[in-house]
């Protein structure tokens, strides 16, 4: 399997991903806030939209940076714009990706870095899979991507990632929240999807869509 994209195309692909993710967040603000309103404080959509606006505003600046720096900088923008716990969590993910981004960005190397970044998110939130958080999507999605990329095409690995994100989100519904604002509603959190898991799935889907479209020619070979 080849690189995720040609070296000079990395930043262009990153920008496409960024735009797709931000577009997805802006389009789903109401839904994310509605999920958060059911078990939290109802600000998840607005919080992530602030991040999306900050990222889109900085897109030109980011595109002048090498990819690892752009990822780190994007992470810092998320941290400073969100205002809720999801800021440090998503910010940590991006910064961890940037810090560990492989020089030779093969799909396999990126898969390892992705999984490590999800572990960094878990450490930041002192949380783990099964606690009704974004980790219930991020961790299985990264694992599915790594496992699938080892044996199949990038397209198949992205599909596996998206499928794992879908089932990870669905799995949060029967869970009882023990982390974040939803922990305060305790039993009443059961039966609702976790808003962080929902936003994580949206983001991963947007990235997968861009990578399938833009990278497939190089990557399927």
């Amino acid at each position: 399997m080849g690189r995720m994209s040609p070296p000079d195309g990395d930043i262009a692909v990153f920008l496409h991903c960024l735009q797709a993710v931000c577009g997805e967040l802006l389009a789903n603000e109401a839904e994310l806030s509605a999920l958060d309103r059911a078990i939290g404080d109802g600000d998840h959509g607005a919080n992530l939209c602030r991040a999306a606006h900050a990222l889109l505003e900085a897109a030109d600046d980011l595109s002048s940076l090498p990819l690892p720096k752009a990822l780190e900088r994007a992470g810092m923008l998320v941290v400073t714009s969100v205002g809720g716990a999801s800021g440090p969590l998503y910010g940590t993910m991006l910064m961890a990706l940037g810090r560990a981004w492989p020089q030779d960005a093969t799909a396999g190397a990126v898969a390892d870095v992705l999984e490590q970044a999800m572990e960094a998110v878990g450490r930041r939130g002192r949380s783990t899979v099964g606690e009704k958080t974004m980790l219930d999507v991020l961790v299985p999605a990264a694992r599915a991507f790594r496992e699938s990329v080892a044996s199949g095409s990038l397209g198949a690995a992205l599909q596996a990632m998206v499928d794992a994100a879908d089932s990870g989100l669905a799995a949060t519904r029967p869970m009882r929240a023990t982390k974040g604002r939803a922990a305060y509603v305790g039993e009443r959190s059961i039966g609702h999807l976790d808003p962080g898991a929902a936003s994580a799935r949206l983001c991963l889907r947007a990235v997968a869509r861009v990578l399938c479209e833009s990278g497939s020619k190089e990557l399927r070979s």
């Binding site: 404080d41 600000d43 607005a46 919080n47 602030r50 941290v79 400073t80 714009s81 969100v82 205002g83 809720g84 716990a85 999801s86 800021g87 440090p88 969590l89 910010g91 930041r124 939130g125 982390k179 974040g180 604002r181 922990a183």
Partner: protein, 130 residues
């Protein structure tokens, strides 16, 4: 005079953060430095890493800073803020696992008496458990 531990109050609400800082000042007067950070970057409910960093910097001294937080995101954003400080300052800032109002008052009283950072934290964290 020996420098005292400073306090930072972090709340989702700027009214709560300012109010708790006022209560601390009423008790301790000018004996210790108190700063607050409340509200998200857009001015709504939430917390703002940059404001927390600025609040810590504003009361920082080698005696250290005790940070008091309300709910989840305030803690996560405060941890992020501490990591953004210079390494030399970082180890002299603690986030107390204590109720915001009671913890800040107990911590402030302890700091005003001249106790060091670890004792301020311990007093705040243990107050409600005794």
């Amino acid at each position: 005079m020996k420098t005292r531990v400073g306090l930072v109050i972090v709340s989702h609400s700027s009214d709560v953060a300012r109010g708790v800082a006022d209560m601390v000042r009423q008790m301790t007067g000018e004996e210790i430095a108190v700063a607050w950070a409340g509200g998200n970057p857009a001015g709504g409910l939430g917390t703002d890493v940059k404001k927390i960093v600025a609040a810590i910097e504003s009361v920082w001294s080698p005696a250290g800073v005790a940070v008091f937080v309300d709910l989840g995101g305030a803690e996560t954003n405060s941890e992020m803020a501490v990591e953004m400080l210079d390494a030399s300052k970082r180890e002299r800032v603690v986030i107390c696992n204590a109720p915001l109002v009671e913890g800040a008052i107990v911590g402030a009283a302890e700091a005003a008496s001249g106790s060091d950072l670890q004792h301020v934290r311990k007093a705040a964290e243990e107050f409600l458990r005794t």
